[in-house]
């Protein structure tokens, strides 16, 4: 036990004296959360809009007012005719133009039909889509208002309600994602680098010749990272909670246990990487290409798995991060317990056991 404490102490010296490690451990989580939370977002705010009002009546004015009152749009310009629409797009700022037909109010009164066209700059298709949806919903809202006075006989009204994330805050998907990436980074990449560093420097040989057992060497090396990963997880959750109002609906204990499960799985991957790479650089490359890229691209963190090609959907199943993200979202947003997450949990446990066994086996072979 005393040996173990000495070992862990030494490991902390390595970490705290290395600026790069310190940055990855403490700078990175904060920077990532802030980046994803504030800068990279799927929501649209203050989008520049132009109006082409061919009718200029009381109705169109009301609609324009309600649009400019929303925080999503800013009316940037008024266009005189159709030809100017393209010119204004080419300038770049304006992302959408709202066109009212001639005699809009009159048509609405007599034919019960007013026509509006939304022209969007689709160089960024996602934004264009979102803008169209937002404007449609504002118009629908307006339509309902005027229908109260003269009710149409048959109407199907769609009232959608968004469970678990009613405001569609993108930060709600980013917090679990960033947490997964950071834990993977700290647990797998940092440990694999720190183990290979000992190999590279030749100190691993000294440790193997000493009475300390290989098992103790590995546990001594990974323990500090378990500790630091947990601190990181707490840090990210606190940031999410206080800065972005990310809720934690479910059980904190379950969240903690699942997090530790994922950390240990990642550590096992880290040990495995360190057994197959001889230098720190190799370990880093394998970690980045083999772990970080799949985690970011295939785990459902940024791109929804259901819209991936079938082959990639199958591949995503072998990525531990995918299951952890499902678990995190389940606990934090839906507030569900283990009875709903047992499948994902079992898969993670299975992966952990597999990677641990494999890394122990690989490590033993190396010693022969």
């Amino acid at each position: 036990m005393k040996r173990f404490i000495g070992f862990v102490k030494k490991e902390f010296y390595h970490i705290f004296r290395d600026k790069r490690s310190m940055f990855i451990l403490f700078g990175m989580p904060i920077a990532q959360i802030m980046l994803f939370g504030f800068a990279i977002t799927n929501e649209i705010n203050n989008v520049d809009l132009a109006i082409l009002d061919k009718s200029k009546d009381a109705e169109t004015e009301k609609i324009i007012n309600s649009i400019s009152a929303s925080k999503h749009f800013k009316i940037e310009a008024v266009v005189g005719n159709d030809d100017q629409i393209e010119d204004i797009f080419k300038k770049g700022n304006v992302k959408a133009v709202l066109v009212f037909e001639k005699d809009f109010a009159q048509n609405l009164q007599t034919h019960k039909k007013g026509k509006v066209q939304v022209v969007t700059d689709a160089t960024d298709p996602n934004t264009a889509n979102t803008i169209t949806n937002y404007i449609q919903s504002i118009l629908q809202h307006y339509q309902q208002e005027i229908n109260i006075s003269n009710v149409a006989p048959h109407q199907i009204q769609v009232k959608s309600r968004l469970y678990y994330n009613p405001e569609l805050k993108s930060v709600f998907t980013f917090v679990p994602g960033v947490m997964t990436v950071i834990l993977m980074l700290v647990s797998a990449m940092m440990t694999s680098i720190s183990i290979t560093r000992e190999k590279e420097l030749g100190t691993m040989e000294i440790l193997l010749v000493s009475p300390i057992k290989p098992f103790q060497v590995i546990t001594g090396k990974v323990f500090p990272y378990i500790f630091l990963s947990i601190i990181n997880a707490i840090m990210i959750l606190l940031l999410g909670y206080f800065v972005f109002e990310m809720p934690i609906e479910g059980s904190l204990i379950l969240l903690a246990l699942e997090t530790v499960l994922f950390i240990v799985t990642s550590l096992a991957l880290g040990i495995l990487i360190s057994t197959i790479s001889a230098t720190q650089q190799t370990a880093m490359m394998i970690s980045l290409m083999g772990l970080m890229l799949p985690v970011i691209l295939l785990s459902g963190f940024i791109f929804p798995i259901s819209s991936m090609p079938l082959a990639l959907q199958y591949i995503s199943n072998i990525i531990p991060a995918k299951w952890f993200i499902i678990i995190l979202k389940g606990i934090m947003l839906k507030g569900v317990g283990i009875s709903f997450l047992w499948k994902e949990t079992l898969i993670l446990i299975g992966m952990m056991v597999f990677f641990l066994a494999l890394s122990i086996k690989k490590y033993k072979i190396r010693l022969e």
């Binding site: 100190t203 000294i206 010749v209």
Partner: protein, 259 residues
């Protein structure tokens, strides 16, 4: 003094698949002896040494180190030996004191012993002014002397030195060998591999390995008589160019013969 055998090797063999790296070597090393273990690149020197220090399992044959069998009792072997590798083997980002504390700790020394050892090592090597400096800031010669002292922290019966003086100047090497002599004088057995032939002259006895076999083993003086040459360099070259082996592999940029 020559009575007690601390290393006994009998017919020790190591195979990697079809390739036999060590072909049934046998020798003995006595207490307090400085035993030089020489051989060219790929002669099997490092493989043989790894079996003796318990990190590689012999394919067949016997070896006892400090009275313990390396196959069945490698844990006890590890406790009885010290080891310093050719690559400088301490942590650059730890201070001298922290390194001593750490290595003392993994060899099971208690706090009081560690404190005493730290003081004596620092005093012996006159490192008082830099004791709290990171080891990375020390010159290589100092690091190697420190690494040697650290390998002796737990007062092992035998210390294995794998090319301990690689890359340092002759004066520092001379100082290093003074440390080795002093330690051997206390009764510690020194098992050293080297590729500097002048260092081979300092050893009490020298073994020369060629192609997995020990081709010669005696005092430097007798070896020189036997091979009718006036330096160990000459002995080595004659052996290596003997009928049993092809020419020496091309020398490394550093010069000398290295394994």
């Amino acid at each position: 003094m020559r009575s007690e055998k601390v290393i006994e090797v009998g017919n020790l063999t190591k195979k990697f698949g079809d390739f036999t790296a060590v072909k049934g070597i046998s020798f003995e090393v006595f207490k307090g002896e400085i035993f030089g273990f020489l051989g060219a690149n790929g002669a099997g020197k490092t493989t043989a040494m790894k079996m003796l220090i318990g990190i590689s399992k012999p394919t067949s044959g016997e070896a006892t180190v400090a009275g313990f069998d390396v196959k069945s009792n490698s844990e006890m072997v590890k406790k009885s030996i010290g080891y310093m590798s050719q690559r400088f083997s301490m942590y650059d980002d730890l201070t001298i004191k922290e390194n001593i504390t750490f290595f003392g700790g993994i060899y099971g020394l208690n706090r009081k012993q560690i404190r005493q050892k730290t003081e004596s090592v620092i005093e012996e090597l006159q490192l008082q002014d830099v004791a709290d400096k990171l080891v990375g800031s020390l010159p290589l010669g100092w690091k190697q002397k420190l690494a040697f002292s650290v390998s002796l922290l737990h007062e092992p019966k035998i210390v294995f030195l794998d090319e301990p003086t690689g890359g340092v100047d002759p004066i520092t090497r001379r100082q290093f060998w003074e440390l080795i002599y002093a330690e051997a004088h206390k009764g510690t057995t020194i098992f050293v591999t080297t590729h500097y032939m002048d260092e081979a002259e300092y050893c009490d006895r020298v073994s020369i390995m060629v192609d997995g076999v020990i081709e010669a083993l005696d005092t430097p003086k007798k070896l020189k008589e036997q091979f009718k040459t006036d330096s160990m360099e000459g002995v080595f070259l004659k052996l290596a160019r003997g009928p049993l082996t092809p020419a020496l592999p091309a020398g490394r940029p550093k010069g000398g013969i290295k394994d």
